[in-house]
Symmetry: D2
Subunit: 144 residues, 4 copies
């Protein structure tokens, strides 16, 4: 088991610098390991869609952010890594409350990194997923 190659503070710095949309996307990194990240998304009414559930783009953005953190934990500080593919399955309608995503890198090559992301509503404690999953995604980041 190795140490993550970036800190949470460095990741936040990259996201704030590179994604102006970060203000509308109130995420926080709960934990960061070597190839693993847990990211929490605070709840805002603007994320809702018909039926009182969170919108697909909200969950996509969370999945993308969590995988980004997990990938950077393996390749280090790299603001120019970009998503080349993301496949997301929406499994259940999430309730209007915070979401937690757990990303795990499956492979890091010289050219790209592949990983999975599980998303669920936040449970009793901050940053803890409660089953069942509301979404599952698989994504690829291209290394610059």
């Amino acid at each position: 088991m190795s140490e993550p190659l970036i800190t949470i503070a460095q990741f936040d710095e990259i996201v704030r610098a590179t994604l102006p949309v970060a203000d509308a996307h109130p995420y926080s990194v709960v934990s960061l390991g070597w190839g693993e990240a847990v990211v929490r998304l605070d709840y805002r009414d603007a994320m809702l869609r018909a039926g009182g559930t969170l919108s697909g783009p909200t969950m996509f953005t969370l999945a993308d952010t969590a995988l980004y953190a997990a990938v950077l934990s393996r390749i280090g500080y790299e603001p120019l890594a970009v998503t080349s593919n993301l496949d997301i399955h929406f499994l259940r309608k999430p309730e209007p409350r915070p979401l937690v995503a757990r990303a795990r890198v499956l492979r890091v090559g010289r050219r790209q990194a592949v990983g999975t992301i599980e998303i669920a509503s936040e449970g009793g404690e901050r940053g803890v997923l409660i089953e069942p999953l509301v979404a599952h995604a698989t994504g690829t980041y291209a290394r610059p």
Copy 2:
């Protein structure tokens, strides 16, 4: 060739009613046919990410909106249809200007509808894609 089962005005009404985020997502439906939709996304600086390119979530949201319009053109006014899966490939970094998405339904069944979405930058005329594509997606909507 049949007529689309909703009008552009009806689609706008559904999106405004069901997606509070619509204000941050300045789309407009350029055309709507039976199983086909062309949707334009105006450009905002908030969509940028590092390197002067549009963010992945921005393109995901556009793809999702365009497929939603194309699906409703086949199944009619249905605010509760939801995306169950979306797989997006980011092909090239788009320049900071409007994007156009062209969605096409491949199949409508009793339970779900599947379609593809091509995204490119807007060309000489409003609502016209210029090659090459910047993203390609395949998505599934579940019918309620």
Copy 3:
């Protein structure tokens, strides 16, 4: 924790009855739980492709078979359930020896079931995966 709704023998019966190709696809179900299946694929030289590695279609077929078993463990004996979508990422070139797939159902609805499949080479013991993964897939089965 519930009991699986089919037995390994019933699953084998469905596969032999419905997939004539089963002879060229020498799989065996190692274990079957409620929403989970571990499936082993014996090695044949015909599965090889250039570079001495196993072919993509071989891994796709294994992923599909393992998810089918996991889905039937939740919905019971149902020869007419069919794959509606499968997204597979090939992570590493597998060596020419048996593969093991572990499928897990994420959600079973009235219309469809979604799950993931991890594939790796077989380790020291029969039916045991050894990391790292050689492929990861996500799939959807439609219920008839």
Copy 4:
């Protein structure tokens, strides 16, 4: 419009040399353009599954072969290019007769190539698709 960088005969040579399974997969390349390929799969009873329809692995293999041809038409003779991702949607149950796949490359980069594949039953003439599609796929090949 450029010329394809391999001939049909060269492609056949690569497939026969690299995929021993080619005998069970009676494909033929109908046409090859720059970034485009039309590939036909002859029908065999072994491809059937329950309900008298063609199996998923059969269509996956055809999609993969057609995209391989389309990619090589752009990058030239390269036996070591491998599929890194393939996402396939099965849209309708195909009848027990020949299938035709049309692959189109969307982007070729230094590291990978992305394309789509449409599959339908063969129509009145050899190598001609008749709508509606029975499957649609998106795939990525990694360049060695």
